[in-house]
Amino acid sequence: MTTLTLTCADIVRYLSDYLEDNLADDVARAARDHIATCDNCRIVLDSTQQMILLYRDHGRAQRLPLARQTELFGRLAAAFSERRPPGQG
């Protein structure tokens, strides 16, 4: 049985599938073997995961200002209650 070996370029190509656990078992194993001995690829993987978390925190901090939310919801609630369900007027 031949053992699959991956290059750094392969790791970059499979990066997203690796992070999402979408690789076939033999490819995933070869990727893990490569990363265990290649510092640059380990760093690329780790930093990609960290980058995603940074963006998740950063992105989700953006919110409608509370006063605007309240005003907007009030208007929507009025429109919602004015519209009767079918068959009720």
Binding site: N22, A24, D39, I43, S47, I52, Q62, L72, F73, A77
Partner: protein, 204 residues
Amino acid sequence: MADRRQHREQPAVTTDETALIAALKQREPQALAQAFELYAAVIYRLALSILHDEQQADGVVQDTFLKLIEHIDGFEGRARLSTWLYRVAYHECTGRIRRAKPLLNLDDFPEEAAVMPAHFVDWQTLPEQALSSRETADQIQQAIDGLPPTLRLVFILRDVEECSTRQTADILGLTEAAVKVRLHRARLALREALAAYFEEYLHR
């Protein structure tokens, strides 16, 4: 592999959304509050990332929910409520862009080649303040604003809002394969932009 992926995808309609749709059809006031609580912030962020204007993003939230109120009785539940809302919001945004700049098409941005990693600074060695500073937050924003919109939207839906590949494809009208390619390119480009910034940070 396809089978493994399918198991992780969320069901087409979740029980919670089915109950919420039924309550909306009955005009239960708390149903609208619940829908607003669940989806308004995501719609706002999605719109902000496309339009870069808080007032316009606010308008997109309003118009999306007005469409929900208008169409709820005909909602058949083939699509998830969240997918339907985000797709409406996305079309509201592209409609606004088309009205403001009729010649601009979000899909016209060139398909750039994938960015290959060239900065290998280990983020584990960064001081805590490097990750949480105001300056870093600005860099984070600049890097994502610098992405072509086609990549930016896929990244935001998949990695920031944690939509599934299928849901993202449905919202943006793309194939799942296109979503995967764009997400991969967006991740490589954003990682590279921040890695270059952190490398410079460590050498100050």
